[in-house]
Symmetry: D2
Subunit: 359 residues, 4 copies
């Protein structure tokens, strides 16, 4: 079950960074949805390496094939299997990893857990695993848009200390895509790009914050108790590689306010309820309240740096390791479509669950 996510709209990803490829099986998709590779590929293009000077220069086309679940351009209601071949293998770049564990990667824990690992890359811990998520997320986003009028979006909010000012209620996809760092605040974006490029030249890396939003979610999605909408979003986000923190609505800052200040007063107009503020982040008691859902996810700086580091080898003896070749100074721009995908997967699943019990 480790590789399966969701209850009614359920995805199972498979594949290592090196081997036959990576992919995903999507089970539970409603039938008769128009769907071809052309709906999926643009999201994979946003995710793939080699898009700009501030991401890794590893080049992979990441071309998706739909192997099942559609007929004459429409979904059948049966499992949709999507596959992306691995192309840019270069095992020689990883030869030293056969013997040594990269610090703050999953090399050691995988080896200790399973007694075996595919040392030619990060295996399942590689960012390549997210290809399946983004491909499945493209379907989820399409369902949300076409069947429920819900828009999911994400953007880079902060890189190290450089923070952008963005209004979650108004920001557009076009603004997000208007620069290579995917920060809709153009001034902050420029500074972020300069910082990342500078860090890249130092062979170092930098982290930051992505903000994810969902607009148009109707009142009532989400479940009480364990499968709260916020809890499922937290799990979805914290399951992405390199994430360290999640906050929703007022998040950590909520603790600086008192209850009187923090409560979102209800108001009604023409029998429609809304809140005057939105510290709740669109979710109350685990259930959407109709306001914009927004949350933030922190990504640590990428662990692969171009400097020699202390580590241990597979015999559990001390040694040193220096990465070679290309590195990714900042994962944030490529992580934006991942956040959108995971958001959409959580929401579609809850939309179907709500329909089943209360529809």
């Amino acid at each position: 079950m480790a590789s399966t996510f969701g209850h009614l709209f359920r995805i199972t990803t498979w594949g290592e960074s090196h081997g036959g490829g990576v992919g995903v099986v999507v089970d539970g998709c409603p039938p008769k949805l128009k769907l071809t590779e052309a709906d999926i590929q643009p999201e994979l293009n946003r995710r793939r390496p080699g898009q700009s000077k501030i991401t890794t220069r590893r080049m992979e086309p990441d071309t998706v094939q739909i192997l099942s679940g559609t007929f004459e351009g429409k979904t059948l209601g049966t499992p949709i299997c999507m596959w992306v071949k691995n192309e840019d293998a270069r095992p020689e770049a990883y030869s030293e990893m056969k013997e040594k564990f990269r610090p703050s990667h999953a090399d050691f824990t995988y080896f200790a857990k399973y007694g075996i690992r595919n040392w030619q890359g990060g295996g399942r811990a590689s960012a390549r695993e997210t290809i399946g998520r983004v491909a499945a997320g493209a379907i989820a986003k399409k369902i949300l848009r076409e069947k429920f009028g819900v828009e999911t979006l994400a953007y880079v909010k902060q890189v190290q200390r450089i923070s952008g000012a963005i209004d979650p209620n108004k920001v557009t996809l076009k603004e997000v895509e208007s620069n290579i760092v995917r920060c809709p605040d153009q001034k902050a974006a420029k500074e972020m790009i300069e910082l990342i490029d500078d860090i890249r030249q130092q062979g170092d890396t930098v982290g930051g914050i992505i903000e994810g939003i969902a607009r148009g979610v109707p009142v009532g999605w989400g479940e009480p108790v364990f499968d709260k909408l916020g809890a499922d979003l937290a799990k979805a986000m914290m399951s992405l590689p390199a994430t360290k923190a999640f906050e929703i609505g007022s998040g950590f800052n909520s603790i600086l306010m008192t209850g009187r200040e923090h409560n979102d007063a209800f108001r009604a107009k023409n029998k429609k309820v809304f809140t005057k503020t939105n510290f709740s982040g669109g979710i109350q008691g685990g259930i959407s309240n109709g306001e914009t859902i927004f949350f933030r996810v922190a990504f640590k700086p990428v662990a692969t740096v171009m400097h020699e580091q202390d580590t241990v080898d597979v015999r559990y003896e001390n040694t040193k390791l220096k990465a070679r070749g290309r590195h990714d100074p900042c994962v944030l721009p490529r992580a934006v479509p991942m956040i959108e995908a995971m958001t959409a997967l959580v929401l579609v699943d809850h939309a179907l669950r709500h329909k089943a019990q209360c529809g």
Copy 2:
């Protein structure tokens, strides 16, 4: 499935704050574990209201009964059902809520989702639901302690702007329990208590941060991809009422470091691997690495305040509402055992999953 948590050590909570009671069914518990109500009650006592001047004065004994799953003081390997009767009903305290939604509570979203709600209290969104979690968590903690040598612990780290200095590697349960706010830093604790008492007298409320830890977790628990240990902890914590944020290890602060600074260098001694720093928070690639696991959870200020607030009624018209009776100025001291319980539930489930596949 909304009320079920876990895969192999699986709990299902049930019950509203008002009605026949609240409880939990624990399925998948190993057999032959010594277990009586005396193992459960102390944790419920830590969780219950009325413990001190800084928690709600609602008084409930919260006496637990084990209805099934044990025989002659030992677990049978069959489902353990535990039940706590509701005693302190006082429906009159809630009469106004029949017509009005409390701001930043789940009253409105439940009503909109289900078209019905038990207005005599918070229903499933009430903190009383966590009784089942804490009771199940007491079993999980016992299994971790006796079968795996793992200790789970939590404490109040911060109340509003008052932060304690606590070493996750050394803090003890005795220190946590040494004061009514459950902050092991005595100086900070004193300030916290004063602040909460002051806030209470103002009829207002205050939030803060609880830090949760697990010590002695062996290398290898947790799953790659979706069921990462950190992801499951995030979901567990964000499923608790009033939580707004979760961070593990370096958390949000990780973004202020570069990759070189943030990486946890591996070292080995006598064929045992450890890390020089622990920014990873004991988890790498979703799998425990043998270091102390630690994370922080933010709780917003409690929504029930003793002041009139704007809200809407069940006819979706504007009105005002003022809570009556007793309120809880700060949920943090009572939330400490909840954090411990959820931590233990996640860990036991992963311990069993690890044994199944790799044991």
Copy 3:
């Protein structure tokens, strides 16, 4: 998960035959369904011992209490916990079982699996466990009836070699309940009752076949591949104590026909499709086709007989055992409501699943 059944309408039973009681938690029930104990108790009365001279004379009122999930006589959409106290304990009747395993019971396998067992009765293997199923099934039947116009019914089809002639398309509940053996063929029923009474006086037991039916199921319930409607019914039935076989539609007799003889020709009238014959038993490719669903379940003769038998003790040494007190000569009349309950649970779950994906 062993004690949980269903995906969207999900039940978890708990409790041993001896101890605090038995019960069930029903999660996923739609909200606003009228529901009180009066909807549940009649089904438990049909299931309980002591109804007539041909069932066990063990007397238990089996009074159900709803502990959660309803408010003012309606479901809240939250987990419904129902509880029946154990009354007729008589541990002295079981004292010999502390040391010896009853043949063809679960005493030995439970002991070997868990290393412990509640020897005061059958524990979870006791027919008392089915109280939770029947209680949950009463809710499922009500939903099917009121929301989908579906009727579920079962009756005794055969006792040993005595077989009744019953038309699944026409039989009524009133006919089923018209005699103590629950066989709507009055002539066969008379013979069955005589046979069972005779067997009872010999201290022996007898098995037979129950036929279960569902009428009014719309086209489209059920899933391709693993969760076929027939597969889920098979599992549901074979999870009942003492069941040995399951067949749907033409069942084992299908092998005596050729394909030309066995195929159910489609016909249409006023744009409504039906089949000329119904060898398929109302299910094709795992999905309901609108015809009456019918299947048969074989129950072995009850294992508790009033004669000395060879067996082994807890030290794995040969010994002999003779049951004392009351025995149940034939479980079939009491198993009828169990079959109806399991049928209804499978159908409601699939109704909700169908609504989620295709509604």
Copy 4:
């Protein structure tokens, strides 16, 4: 979840009979198991069409590729995706099916459920879907054999009225594979082959019974209540296309015996418990008792016959349909590896579950 089977050893099949191919993702496989395509292909060869004169002459090589989850010939503990391309498409053979539903196939129910279907073959209801099951089953069988010393086997027990005499405790794979009908009773096999060949020439089809067995299963696998070993086997078998009935141990014949006759007396020798008879079929109270597990599955005659039949078209109007080209007179020989696969999948899953809770 419709396409997922198992809890800890979990498979998800995907693919239609026509389209990019069919396959399976296996999640939860233990690491470090030696595994290459050479372990899988022989089972697929037993399952594929075109093996002999008594199966369909459709020719497909069904060559399997492992796309993920292994490294240097060993499993990684991560999801194993296996893929078989579709080769023998011949859409022209299906052109009439675009408009008409084949009787006793899933064409009508799929269309009614989803509003769309891949009419170029049976879609997910095709026997091709079982390729993924057989491929996954090959891994399960290997684990059972190498890690638990358990052997799973199946054979044709009966074709129409011709029944073989086979001892489940002694029959070998070599005997099963010694003739094209896979019935180890050579005399019966000869008659079965003649019957099937005769039926084939008439353009008709015939059904029968496969017996499945598992030898060497230790005491203690299986769960009380819902996930009884027999219940999970029933579901597994009844999820295969064309199955109509399932019985375990004494099955339907159990009803002809009294309790005294039917009970399996326990005996012990050298502290090892066994039963004098095995009417229980190796399972008591849902849990294996150490005896040989055996059960029978009835397959109806294949629905595709070479004769004109009454049916309806997609406009729900009456019409006639006659299949063209090649047909499969009897699915039984090819279904033998399917039964073995499903048996092995159920057993491995329960082996891991048992280890998790009681290991």
